[in-house]
């Protein structure tokens, strides 16, 4: 299996997200000021720096917004790993996150394709959220 470029150790801001991934739960920060989720996690809510940020569990469902089959490797990848798909996923909650589409042939990925979260284990017990055809 590909040895990924591991995300850095969680910050105070991102710890709730990464902690949830240990249990393979996808959580998003929600603005109590706007009532909307935000991505990525921020130190404060840009809509109101005094408003609380709530972490809520996401459905783990989304669609492919855009994707690129990487024939040349990016960070943490190697030529030997072969082709892989980097994609922007639009989650059902309305935010868009960078991820990978796995569990299908790269050529089968299309924009608009429904996907659901799949978990790639990291050496420290966290999981990286990837997506697989729904």
């Amino acid at each position: 299996m590909t040895r990924l470029l591991e995300p850095p150790a969680p910050s105070e801001v991102s710890a709730p997200f990464w902690d949830a991934t240990r249990e393979q739960r996808l959580v998003l920060p929600w603005s109590t000021a706007t009532g909307l989720p935000m991505w990525y996690p921020r130190e404060v809510d840009p809509a109101d720096p005094d408003a609380a940020i709530e972490w809520r569990e996401a459905a783990g469902a989304g669609t492919v917004y855009a994707f690129s089959v990487h024939h040349r490797p990016g960070p943490g990848r190697d030529e030997a790993d072969g082709l892989y798909v980097v994609a922007l996923i639009e989650l059902a909650e309305g935010v868009r996150m960078m991820s990978n589409v796995v569990g299908c042939e790269p050529d089968d990925v299309t924009v608009g394709m429904p996907v659901r979260v799949a978990w790639h284990p990291l050496p420290d017990g966290r999981h990286l959220p990837q997506f697989t055809p729904a």
């Binding site: 470029l5 990525y40 690129s68 990487h70 980097v86 960078m98 924009v111 990837q130």
Partner: protein, 392 residues
């Protein structure tokens, strides 16, 4: 906010650039920057003693100190490749406000020369650069190859939304190469075909190697002066008629719509200030980091409607021999040079075309040019409308 009125307040009066068909220059750093500044000042008929403003993406203070001048205007804006368009906008505003009179901007980067020097090389591949914390956490663990992966995502979205084809994107590379044939300093001058582009190795789908800009050494400088000062210098002034910026994001995953850049804001704003329509423009120097980048500029600046960029370019009208708008007559970042931040070269070519100094590639009609820079990953757009005295 009141409408800004920079129109005609300042003019580009001197330019210089350097690049080589080998892709490599034999000097770098301050020596190269100094050579560019000297050439641009000579071009204008000015000296360092006339300069009271400096722009530099590293440290304008360090540059001024090296030059031995004490400027009253410094701009260290660093938003990537469009920084130079932003320098012209900011400096024109500063000149209009009476803050300074003669501003120099310079750029030099020698990624190829640096490869065989101690401590040189590197780049994005392998280890990500520092200072990119959100990206390190939220983008790079997925193996996004930077910077081309970001543009590949935009191209993927554009194709899915509008049916844009790989052939249409390739056409931009083909026409740009045809222009490069007329630039003796261009890295690549041999003609290519759409099939050549499609047969070049896929890097990050849907972008092939020939959809991607070069990595070459290059350098350039500009001198911007007040209109009053510009009138009696060595060369005909090239006036700044319009200037505007549009920023949308830093990381590609935060771009609101991957098919619409900040050019949709900066372009119309700059054109409005200049009092022109897209049809009036003779030359678009549109930052072509990738073929998709140039295609998005054509749509966002209003040369064609959103989604119609592919159909707009496919007849080859932007290449040599076309009538009306020409694009990237120096051979662009795709075939001339791309040292990392290409925005300087957009300005230099626009000025030379408007002056009628470009030899074999000279456009017959050369009154109005647009230098449109893209910085980051389609993140920060800077549009500068330039015109000859006749357009004032």
């Amino acid at each position: 906010m009141t409408e800004r009125t920079l129109r005609g307040a300042a003019a580009l009066v001197g330019v210089a650039d350097d690049a080589s068909p080998t892709g490599e220059l034999d000097r770098g750093g301050r020596a190269l920057e100094m050579a560019m500044i000297r050439q641009a000042l000579d071009d204008a008929g000015l000296t360092l003693d006339d300069v009271d403003g400096v722009c530099h993406a590293g440290s304008p203070a360090a540059l001024a100190e090296f030059l031995g001048i004490q400027p009253r205007y410094l701009d260290g804006t660093m938003v990537g490749g469009s920084s130079f368009e932003l320098y012209v906008e900011h400096a024109a505003a500063a000149i209009a406000a009476g803050l300074c009179d003669v501003v120099v901007g310079v750029y030099a980067a020698t990624p190829r020369r640096d490869r065989h020097r101690p401590g040189g090389g590197g780049g994005f591949r392998g280890r990500p650069p520092g200072g990119m914390t959100p990206q390190l956490e939220w983008e790079l663990p997925y193996g996004l190859r930077m910077p081309m992966g970001a543009y590949a995502l935009a191209a993927s979205r554009h194709m899915a939304m509008y049916g844009t084809t790989a052939e249409q994107l390739a056409r931009i590379a083909v026409d740009t190469r045809a222009w490069a044939a007329f630039n003796p300093k261009a890295r690549y001058r041999d003609p290519i075909t759409i099939d050549d582009v499609l047969a070049s190795p896929m890097v990050v789908s849907p972008l092939h190697l020939l959809d991607c800009c070069l990595v070459t050494d290059g350098a350039g400088a500009f001198v911007l002066a007040s209109a009053a000062r510009a009138r009696d210098l060595a060369k005909p002034p090239v006036y700044v008629l319009g200037a505007a910026t549009g920023g949308t994001h830093q990381m590609i995953s935060q771009m609101p719509d991957l098919t619409v850049t900040g050019g949709a804001v900066s372009g119309p704003a700059a054109f409005r200030m200049a009092g022109i329509k897209p049809d009036d423009v003779d030359l678009l120097m549109g930052y072509d980091s990738f073929t998709i980048t140039a295609l998005l500029h054509l749509e966002d600046l209003g040369f064609c409607a959103k989604g119609e960029g592919g159909a707009f370019v496919e007849d080859g009208k932007l290449g040599p021999g076309g009538s009306g708008l020409a694009m990237n007559t120096n051979g662009g970042g795709l075939s001339f040079t791309h040292p990392g931040m290409y925005g300087m070269f957009l300005l230099v070519e626009a000025v030379r075309q408007l002056r009628g100094e470009t030899g074999e590639r000279q456009l017959a009609k050369h009154d109005l040019a647009v230098a449109h820079g893209s910085g980051g990953v389609l993140s920060t757009m800077g549009t500068i409308v330039l015109g000859t005295e006749a357009t004032l």
